[in-house]
Symmetry: C2
Subunit: 393 residues, 2 copies
């Protein structure tokens, strides 16, 4: 077998994004034990950084030892008990997955089904609360499969009025759009490091508030999963330092560095940058006569889903990006298979340079597939947008 020698892709897909050079440097750091005094400092610092990025006072702000789906499962298997009714906005692959998990763990799902790309409204949620005993509402803030950005604030308020908990998936949106765990009243929220944070996958941020922890501590039966049992994970990540499992130490190093980078840049600056680049991309896409999969106001700036024009083979264009431009863009997933390209602008990949490159490469790829766009129109529209919308800071 050959020496490891991966191609230097530009990762503009649905994630992972490219690893930040400072994070690569962190991966070179010597490993220490998972109970080493130095690692315990790193754990505490990582918790503080996570709490700051989540805007919360939750002590339980830490990385789950697995990928984003592990964090989703950890949240659901701890929160849901046999027979619990759970309201879920189902408008994409990951929302659907949450729903399936709730059922696997014994819950009863009350689904609000929408077109993949639309969002759940507070009226729809309130209506279900009125007509059920739901004690949890689960939503995906940034739906990786559709590019939709779900508003959360009003829904969280409604849930609180019904004494229910709020669970939010921010895998693709964390540090890319506004999020205020304590201010909005979100009880449990998880994410992933390989999206807006530009770190490799493997240790996934989660924050769990006291209302949720109280419910978990008072479960009728302990959670079946020992690996994901929050009451055990808490003992390792708090003063007790009780061994639970060997933390993925290197991934924690990487996550800490990635969070430092995000917080040094400033969350507000970062969010404004994402918005500007996403809007420039949309301006270009639409000037060229293509359409987005989402309304502008509900477009997730870190993941832009562009509709595939009639008669174009989505996979062929995706492969031109890969083979000719050494660039990954995302294919459609589930119901949107063949219907969208998913363009990730995450972390350091959210840049004017990448937006212009993507629009030019899309134009060329479509032409190669026999679908002509007017040359230069898309990129020029994006440049016009940039010129008219200077960065604020």
């Amino acid at each position: 077998m050959d020496e490891l020698n991966p191609p230097e892709r530009l990762l503009l897909g649905a994630g992972p994004s490219n690893v930040h050079p400072r994070v690569v440097k962190a991966l070179l750091s010597p490993l220490v034990g998972h109970l080493d005094p130095y690692f315990i400092e790193i754990m505490d610092e990582t918790k503080k950084l996570l709490a700051k990025a989540f805007k919360t006072k939750n002590e339980f702000s830490l990385p789950i030892s697995g990928t984003g789906t592990a964090a989703m499962e950890a949240a659901i298997c701890n929160l849901v008990q046999e027979g619990d009714e759970v309201i879920i906005g189902v408008n994409g692959f990951f929302a659907q997955r949450m729903s399936e998990m709730v059922r696997r763990w014994g819950g009863k799902t009350l689904e609000i089904k929408k077109r993949w790309g639309d969002v759940t409204t507070k009226e729809e949620v309130e209506n279900l609360f009125k007509n059920s005993n739901a004690n949890l509402v689960a939503l995906v803030q940034g739906e990786t499969s559709t590019g939709a950005l779900q508003p959360l604030q009003d829904i969280a308020k409604i849930a609180r009025a019904y004494d229910a908990l709020v669970l939010v998936d921010t895998v693709t949106s964390f540090t890319g759009v506004d999020l205020d765990i304590d201010g909005w009243g979100i009880d449990v929220c998880y994410s992933s490091p390989q999206k807006c944070l530009n770190a490799p996958p493997g240790a996934s941020p989660i924050t769990v508030g006291d209302r949720a922890l109280n419910r978990i501590r008072n479960r009728r039966k302990p959670v079946q999963s020992l690996y994901f049992d929050f009451t055990l994970i808490e003992r390792y990540w708090s003063e007790r330092r009780m061994y639970h499992h060997t933390a993925p130490i290197m991934n924690v190093y990487a996550l800490r560095e990635a969070l430092m980078i995000a917080l040094e840049e400033g969350l507000d600056n970062r969010i404004a940058k994402y918005k500007r680049n996403s809007e420039a991309l949309m301006a270009g896409v639409e000037a060229a006569g293509l359409t987005m999969n989402t309304e502008h106001q509900y477009t997730l700036p870190s993941l832009n889903a562009v509709r595939v024009p009639e008669g174009v083979d989505a996979d062929k264009v995706k492969n031109i990006f890969l083979d000719r431009f050494n660039t990954e863009i995302g294919a459609g997933l589930g119901e949107l298979k063949g219907q969208v390209w998913r363009v990730g602008l995450m972390g350091l990949n959210s840049s004017e340079r990448n937006v212009l490159f993507f629009l030019e490469a899309l134009e060329v790829s479509l032409r190669k597939e026999g679908h002509s766009l007017k040359p230069g129109v898309a990129a020029n529209a994006a440049v016009d947008y940039y010129d008219a919308h200077q960065p604020i800071n």
Copy 2:
């Protein structure tokens, strides 16, 4: 917060071990997507390397996306169904944990309880098979908490005679002692990368044979965990390449490199090296008047548990190693808290240099704690052992 700058520890504890320089280099490789054609090659190669190291033809030989405890849970939650009777040799922390997991997942445990440091005999297992409907026997080959090496061959034969499956934990023993999945008839076996393989934790090897997969495919109810569901994981790691979750790509790079290193050195050479260094360490320890926690023939060469002499504070010695020698050794866990030091000689850490260093440092540390050994006796006995037992190849 400061820049990440961990101390350069020598990791002679219960794991993690130091990362191999070639593995560090692998971590520098650019990330590609989890469905990138290049990553798919890496996945296939990793499967082949794992199958070779496990000595199996099992197609399902792959890394679970989590740490060793995740692999343990994945195995148990897939194999065990409500009401199943499971025979478990309980002679240490990790065996105890397996037993707890079996109960959490609805199984009934038939425990063979032994002193922590002793092993389970085939007679004990056969006796339980005769008097139960057990359809699974679970054993820990290398018990990280006690330093015991469990013989497997005869027990696997008995299990097969009773049409039961065999599950084995090789977290600390994989590539460090003899293991022959197909030859011995082991159905499911998992491990960890941060022990004998010198890779960072986060992606944990597992192999699952056809008899086990058939049982899993014919479960009365699908496994509750979606993240660990082998029928879904299989679809991503086989020709279908159906998205399941974002693999911890960087950890897979690291694991592949670590497996290449082990197989290039040769499993037999590696196993002989471990045995020689462990026996030299025991010769030194016993010449100095100390004792091991295990009989020689049942001592795990990758993890050597030395009994703490009467009147010595185990933690103080451990801290002298850390503070004075920048070296981690393991403390006792669970029932053996305060009673043993666990000395890991894993991968590149299994060397004459480390054995002699450990013995000298132990002598100095004990002296500082007021427990005098005759100077130089331990290290000299180890050198005598080395001189009398030259490497074979």
